[in-house]
Symmetry: C2
């Protein structure tokens, strides 16, 4: 409880997919059998290019937003994610910083007790996903910097390449269950393997 | 649902005390019988001066943090506030922007389902409230501007003088059950009388 009595007030920023929820596009690929939708930021690090590609594939296969939403409706958040967030939200302010979309996130947010989520929005006409443009470029890094401008100590956790800028901008940062190979590229960042380890680490850096 | 499909993504910023919770210091005055604690920002618009005064009164009457917290533990959030926030959080991102303190807000946040809250922290030694300094000056106005820098459309609602800078910075703004006299000073700002009216107004300005 030291944190409540002295030092800086804290915001914890967390990636969403792979950290507290499953990966949506993998689930859509599984459900539709369209393997092209398995392409991820590991294959195409440029997120705009990846989303343009995904939207073209959706068009080609006539996969509408309602199909994606019906897949998402069947997905559970990761085991223990709700309890992890509840414990964390009882202690600090928590923000999910994600490159997902408002149109995807609702069912996950219901399961997680509606944490604060900053993400993007797809441009949709009827049921057709038309295009993607980010709400703002580099939103993860910029959001960390804006909370810092409000005099918060920012602790960040993520699992993938597109989290690295956020992790590097934060006052304290760690990977959480990252894929093989990623931590080796950033030896300065610690790795939490599971929520209990993450909670302990978060309390240790406040 | 227009909002989910086009236009800008939205953040709704709300004051806490008087908007979704009762006024803490009034309750502490009631409980302790120390009428000096009824002084509010209406009597002393300089919040730092007001808090310095309150802390001196607490000292004089040997009222510790635990006493204040035990009063807060008996308080209910305003009638309908949870339902109001739940409905709003199902549609948009919601942030409570308050000049309250981390040490006061916990029981209210539990009742309200842990919305995102940006507030201050009292400097406390043992059970004694020692001093107050804001996390950042003008946090309400600055937070609105930072969400705008992240390309959110910000809608703000508050009930008192110290919300006016936030209301004036926002893309859309309204008072919600303000005290007599305040709306007349800001005739450009609409007034919502109750949560249903607030929800309808919020949907009308997105």
């Amino acid at each position: 409880m030291t944190d409540m009595m002295s030092g800086m007030q804290r915001v914890i920023t967390l990636d969403m997919e792979g950290v507290v929820t499953p990966e949506v596009w993998i689930a859509v690929a599984d459900h539709t059998g369209v393997d092209a939708l398995r392409r991820t930021t590991r294959d195409e690090p440029d997120y705009q290019a990846l989303m343009d590609y995904r939207i073209a594939i959706l068009d080609e296969h006539r996969i509408g937003l309602s199909t994606i939403q019906s897949v998402i409706a069947t997905l559970d958040v990761l085991d223990g994610a709700r309890e992890f967030l509840d414990e964390l939200r009882g202690r600090h302010q928590v923000v999910l910083l994600s490159d997902t979309f408002e149109q995807f996130a609702g069912p996950f947010m219901d399961q997680l007790g509606r944490p604060h989520l900053l993400c993007h929005r797809l441009h949709v006409e009827g049921d057709r996903v038309v295009s993607f443009s980010p709400r703002v470029d580099e939103q993860k890094r910029r959001t960390v910097e804006l909370y810092q401008a409000l005099n918060f100590h920012v602790t960040a956790m993520g699992d993938s390449h597109n989290d690295v800028a956020m992790l590097q901008a934060a006052d304290a940062a760690s990977f959480i269950h990252p894929p093989d190979g990623l931590p080796e590229r950033y030896p300065e960042l610690p790795v939490a393997r599971g929520y209990r380890e993450a909670l302990d680490w978060i309390e240790s850096v406040g």
